[in-house]
Symmetry: C2
Subunit: 477 residues, 2 copies
């Protein structure tokens, strides 16, 4: 692609015609004020947005903000100070007791087969118990589903390391569907394997990317099952292990050397619950101060991750929404509340605490919208309500207003993990829906870093949130 050139008058003319056409934006909405305000949000965010600078500070100073960690505590202090700099009406904390799991010394996964020993990159799953002193060394059995474990049964599973290796389906257009479709292997696989006598579990990383970065994430043990150590392998390492197992099967003639074993060492530990906080900032509503519009993300991240997209982006976008209202001199009729939740990744205690407090105070929420799907180019919103289809109402009222900003999808949803619980309490919930093709490339890894975030995309997301919130505040949903 190249700009027009002096030597190409025809193409220049055509290019100009094309630009002119592109600049004519038809807004079907009857309110020129609304179109103007949305334009102001976007121009301010693109030209002078602070979200990316805040994100740089957050992920540089406080990477690995897992619940119970020093860096989560640092991020909480930083968030309170940063909200404090935005000239809000109120900034405060909410005490939350959070689970405290630590990875400990680096985990180790060694593939041992006929050709020798080969170390594989790996990350213990969040919440995994440690391996016994000295690690476990056992034969590996590959499965593609939890049903496979049940079918194989105790006889085939006991004493082995179960290797869950069903890839994320490439076909869904939204990678989130593929993620959820494969996620049971990580969230429930190790516990099920333990039930059938396995001594360890390995899970294929939940990503479409083919690389050597392992993706961690939470695993949960059912109370009655034996707890076994569990780690995630990068997709390339999973392929190598699978190939070694297939080769071993082909050459299985009873020889000792053909067996593929893995030595697995995990040094994690569970500690007592730790103190942490939700951090909250408010602009008081001019007409309905007791009715709240909530926008939020989560401060915690996995221990190994800078947490730029998950969910530093949501934290700084939520802050930016309040800054946009302030700097444009827009006074919301309802109280606009930024909630930076704690402990989303492995407990949702921040959300639970918030819900308890709002019930206790009998607070009314008009809308609770979350941004926890990455700081990518915004495409739309998911909305959910117990009173009919909020996404259809929003689309009918405002789709044309949002179209110039590339925001075209209004889908039914439940907001996100932190605000989802408010739906059952009658609150309309929502979530920003950005492009998601790249999200799982670095989700829960060491490479969820600042360089993966484009400042304009991040700022467009903040402007989209501010726009929807302003429309709900002024027009209702």
């Amino acid at each position: 692609m190249r700009p027009r050139s002096l030597l190409l008058p025809l193409l220049s003319f055509l290019a100009l015609a094309r630009i002119a056409a592109a600049q004519i934006t038809t807004v079907a909405d009857s309110s020129p004020d609304a179109a103007k305000t949305l334009r102001q949000f976007h121009t301010e965010a693109l030209a002078r947005g602070q979200a990316f600078d805040h994100l740089r500070t957050l992920v540089t100073r406080f990477p690995g903000r897992l619940s119970g960690s020093k860096n989560l505590a640092g991020a909480i202090d930083w968030a309170e100070q940063t909200l404090g700099s935005l000239n809000l009406d109120r900034v405060y904390r909410q005490d939350v007791k959070v689970p405290h799991w630590e990875r400990g010394a680096k985990e180790s996964v060694m593939m041992v087969h006929a050709a020798g020993a080969e170390p594989l990159n790996a990350l213990a799953l969040g919440g995994s118990v440690p391996s016994p002193e000295g690690g476990v060394l056992a034969e590996v059995i590959e499965v593609k589903s939890l049903d496979d474990v049940i079918t194989l049964g105790h006889a085939k599973i006991a004493g082995k390391i179960v290797f869950f290796n069903r890839p994320m389906d490439p076909a869904p257009i939204r990678p989130g569907l593929a993620y959820t479709g494969a996620g049971d292997q990580r969230s429930r696989g190790p516990s099920l394997a333990g039930k059938y006598g396995a001594v360890g579990a390995l899970t294929r990383s939940l990503t479409h990317a083919r690389d050597d970065f392992p993706h961690t994430g939470n695993t949960t043990y059912a109370p009655d099952n034996p707890k076994i150590p569990a780690a995630a392998l990068p997709t390339l390492a999973a392929d190598r292990l699978s190939a070694a197992l297939a080769a071993s099967k082909r050459s299985a003639d009873g020889k000792e050397g053909a067996t593929v074993r893995v030595a697995l060492t995990i040094n994690s530990r569970w500690l007592p619950d730790a103190p942490a906080h939700n951090v909250i900032g408010e602009i008081r509503g001019t007409e309905f101060p007791d009715e709240i519009i909530l926008v939020g993300g989560h401060l915690d991240s996995w221990d190994v991750a800078p947490g730029a997209h998950d969910n530093g982006s949501g934290v700084v976008q939520s802050m930016e929404v309040l800054r946009l209202f302030r700097v444009l001199g827009l006074k919301p009729r309802h109280t606009l509340r930024c909630v930076l939740f704690t402990n989303e990744e492995n407990g949702l205690r921040g959300s639970a605490t918030y819900v308890s407090a709002m019930r206790e105070k009998q607070e009314k929420h008009l809308l609770a919208i979350e941004t926890d799907s990455g700081g990518f180019q915004p495409r739309g919103f998911n909305l959910g309500s117990t009173q009919g289809d909020a996404h259809e109402r929003a689309a009918a009222k405002w789709r044309a207003l949002f179209e110039p900003y590339g925001i075209t999808t209004f889908i039914k949803g439940t907001g996100g993990a932190d605000v989802g619980a408010l739906l059952a309490l009658g609150v309309t919930v929502g979530g920003l829906t950005p492009d998601s093709q790249r999200y799982f490339d670095h989700h829960h890894t060491t490479i969820d870093s600042l360089d993966k975030v484009n400042p304009r995309e991040l700022h467009l997301g903040a402007a989209a949130l501010a726009s929807l919130i302003w429309l709900v505040d002024t027009q209702g949903l």
Copy 2:
């Protein structure tokens, strides 16, 4: 963001409800076959697409494919072989004489001011003449527009290096508009500065990114103006130079040391036109073999650039379109022709040669669609026709079919630089319109590399092109 957990039955239920809702896709189109075929294109591209593997080969083996270079020749051979592997009906070359400019030894820009000498990263603009033997050393005058140069006039400009430093406007949602809005500084600024007696020109890189990577690109000299050497500075270097000039102005008391000068050395040369080729592959139409649907991108890239997005992505997507038809067993009614143009970046000779040949043979083209806006998530198409509004016809017929794939924008346009010339000949032209927020972060730089391309986004673009082409082939536009 996290997957559902055993411990969170409420949220799990809500998440499942959300997924179920997301999977219900309403297709308004009356043709279930069309919906099925689009789904097949997308599934095949996502699950077994070859475009990313081809791109890896192209940018690894043949980076810096500028016209006249050995690597363009290598890329042409590779493209012919690769098309040859796709089981097409015909693969051939079209001879093109291309301009041959070489950068020569690395350029150098040194800022010399009171505090000392400071090297600035820089890239000579494409087509720039070399500096005189030993380089030029001159005072710098900063301007924000071509008009500034005219206003300052010969008295203020002569003997100086003119520094064009108007940033790309952050406000447009489409960065392409800001690129074009600032592009005259690069394409015509140096020639104008030469007219007023300047001895050199520096231009701020055409990007919203704030970093230290310079962006090259073509500059053109008007025939009657003196030709002066010209280089692009990274945005951060431009800011440093501007700050030094501002500081110098503040301390300007006639002292020698306060002046800011720049030493500029460019070692480029122009060589005689070189042989190159368009590379073409065809699937012969079953009903209308003499009517052509063209899909294409350009093989050349800037000399310093791997050219992954610009335009390796377009090359491999165009190939993939033909592969998708073949592998799905779809026999187009019209001849489907993949054209890999040469010399888009600095001459458009490939396009001109193609047009001459098609006129000579009196070939009829039903549609000529280009992909030269990066291998990002596809959002829609631009379409142009001398017979009414093709984009509105396409939207009316097929918008609902494309919506499940996130493709929602059908805008008026002129295709792109390579197919634009066909519009005046009565051909309906088009271009793939992907997300563009990241495009100018690495456009025409050393960092337009494979790691900036997401395989799924690239493959979704190929599927979108195949889908539109199949619809035009079977239903007409």
